[in-house]
Amino acid sequence: MGKKILIVDDEIEQIEYASTVLEASGYTPVIAMDGKEGMKKVKAEKPDLILMDIMMPERGGIGMYQDLKHDEETKNIPVIIVTGIARGGHFDDLIVRQGQDTPPPEGYIEKPMNADAMLKMVSNLLS
């Protein structure tokens, strides 16, 4: 069994893409479609890495990120934020961290997601 990666996204197309790419490279993808479900899966599945979309309805992605990074049990799991906003990391970083209380995510990847770049980032963070 490869390392477990939690994909959190509200779009099936995006989940399908990421999970297929990761599965084909030997990882075990786990899926959640919103922040609430994502947090449940983090506790139940204890993933090695989280790949998440931040732009989900109801502030789901941001809330989940805050919870993750303030929870002793989960704060060391590396997080890659998938961003659709082509404004560079800085803007998203501020939104995600809501000020400076929350540490920044371990990586950002922009849509359209380059599969090789994503795989490389994942493998770097897991080594």
Binding site: D10, E13, Q14, I15, Y17, M55, P112, D116
Partner: protein, 528 residues
């Protein structure tokens, strides 16, 4: 106490009459002859003089003339001897108030005095009244001149242009605001040129006609009429004109017009339109870019997986990757279709068709999409039922006949609404709901209606207000805001209506009403 002067050369008369008069409350001065009488008169200024006519030296007529000369308001009563009628008449000609005959009877004296007193009073009242009147006239004149100055200042210092013309149309008031606006000085135009000089040909008549008519602010008024004025150097200046007919004693005496310079407003309006246009384009391009990026993301993923399958010889991956490619190709073709319709590249093509067939097509298409979505979810989640299915159902009215519609357009509208309805269900945080979307058709007196009902997330008041704004979307980069715009455009082209009811947390119902046409020549009114 009134002063009274009694002149008589006969001492007994002075005594008796003097006693009588004093007893009646007069302060009596007596003189034995004319010159003494005049002297006393000048010193004491009595209001009534009683004088004998026949006296040595200066007679009563002379005394009367002298007194009347210096003090015409003094009441002079002459005392004549019996039978001196000529003298009595003469004295009346010289403005004596009255005459009494000797021997002086108390009754006659009393009546004459009473009359004289009345005249004195009347004269005093009249004088007071006249004096008052003078003060009042003075005050009123001052008020009037103040008001006039104030109005003049008001007119002069108004930033708006004010021109008044008399009943022949000649300019009579031309304020500073108008001088600045048009470049004429008041001296050049006031009393010299007709008001038509500052209008384009025909505009002056039009304004007069409008003033006469009830329209534009009522009879004899003109409110906010936009036109241009011609400046001294021939420039056309856009202005907003208000005006009124002037009346004096019910008769038309002229017209006053107020002109607001619209140059700056017009310039700002043009700028604003330009900015709005640019910002709408920017917004649209940004929306499209995000949405296309999402699709591209899926396409790249599909391509990557197909490549991996070929490289690593894994045929099961090939099917998956190809499915992703297909799926995203269909998304992009949906987008392009919507863009084309919105950009007017596509002309609606009205043919006789069955609305129920159109609804059935959309139902079938979306049913398959939902089935595929559910299967995909189950596969991805590696367990069944993690995410609730969305149940799509139909409720078609069998009595609906064929009618003239643009089937591709109607199909597109319904597809957009059902897609939105499904998205509204996936966005609802309450996952225990039994999500359902209903496509309904209804025959109505004047056409047919399509309803799309969902029990998804619903819309807040703010969202409802912005719903038909250009490129508004609640789906972030996952939407373009184009769907509803296109839907509305198509509905408008059919001369139909689109409406909705929505409650946050309860769901939304969209209704499209299309009027039913019997043949294609029954042309559709183009939307304004």
């Amino acid at each position: 106490m009134s002063k009274l002067l009694l002149i008589d050369d006969e001492e007994p008369v002075r005594k008796i009459v003097g006693l009588y008069l004093r007893s009646h409350g007069y302060e009596v001065f007596t003189a034995a002859d004319g010159p003494k009488g005049i002297e006393l008169f000048q010193r004491e200024g009595p209001s009534i003089v009683l004088t004998d006519i026949k006296m040595p030296g200066m007679d009563g007529i002379e005394v009367l003339k002298k007194i009347k000369q210096t003090s015409p308001e003094t009441e002079v009563i002459v005392i004549t001897g019996h039978g001196d009628m000529d003298l009595a008449i003469q004295s009346l000609q010289f403005d004596a108030s009255d005459f009494i005959t000797k021997p002086v009877g108390n009754e006659a004296l009393s009546i004459a005095l009473k009359r004289a007193e009345e005249r004195v009073d009347t004269r005093r009242l009249l004088k007071e009244y006249t004096d008052n009147l003078e003060v009042m006239v003075k005050e009123a004149t001052e008020e009037l001149s103040k008001a006039h100055d104030f109005q003049k200042n008001l007119i002069q210092s108004s930033i708006d242009g004010i021109i008044a013309s008399d009943k022949d149309g000649t300019i009579v008031v031309f304020n500073r605001g108008t001088e600045d606006l048009l470049g004429y000085t008041a001296d050049e135009v006031v009393g010299k040129v007709p008001i038509d000089t500052v209008y384009l040909p025909g505009v002056g008549e039009k304004i007069n006609e409008t003033l006469i008519a009830e329209a534009y602010g009522g009879k004899n008024r003109l409110v906010n009429y936009e036109n241009v004025l011609i400046s001294k150097n021939g420039e056309e200046i856009p202005v907003r004109i208000s005006g009124a007919t002037l009346f004096e004693n019910g008769e038309k005496t002229g017209v006053v017009c107020f002109f607001q310079d619209l140059r700056e407003i017009k310039r700002l309006q043009r700028e604003l339109i330009q900015i709005e246009r640019l910002s709408a384009i920017g917004q649209a391009v940004a929306g499209m870019a995000h949405y296309t990026k999402n699709i591209l993301n899926g396409l790249q993923g599909g391509v990557y997986i197909v490549n991996t399958s070929l490289k690593k010889d894994k045929p099961d991956l090939l099917r998956k990757g190809w499915g992703m490619v297909e799926n995203n190709v269909s998304r992009i073709s949906d987008l392009v279709m919507n863009m084309l319709i919105y950009s007017k590249e596509r002309e609606p093509d009205y043919v006789s068709c069955s609305p129920n067939d159109i609804a059935q097509e959309v139902y079938d298409l979306m049913y398959e999409t939902l089935k595929a979505r559910s299967a995909k979810l189950d596969y991805l989640m590696k367990e069944k039922g993690m995410h609730p299915d969305i149940k799509l159902s139909k409720d078609f009215d069998p009595s609906i006949d064929e009618c003239y519609l643009d089937p591709t357009g109607a199909h597109r509208c319904l597809l957009n609404l059902v897609t939105n309805a499904i998205d509204a269900c996936t966005q609802e945080p309450d996952e225990d709901k039994d999500f359902r979307v209903i496509i309904r058709t209804r025959k109505e007196d004047d056409g047919i209606s399509f309803d799309v009902v969902d029990n998804g997330v619903g819309m807040s008041k703010e969202v409802q207000e912005k719903l038909f704004e250009r490129f508004f979307s609640t789906k972030g980069p996952k939407g373009t805001g184009l769907g509803l715009l296109v839907t509305r455009k198509i509905v408008d082209e059919h001369g139909g209506t689109i409406s909705f009811e929505s409650e946050p947390g309860q769901g939304t119902t969209f209704t499209m009403h299309f009027p039913c046409r019997k043949d294609s020549s029954d042309t559709i009114a183009s939307p304004v």
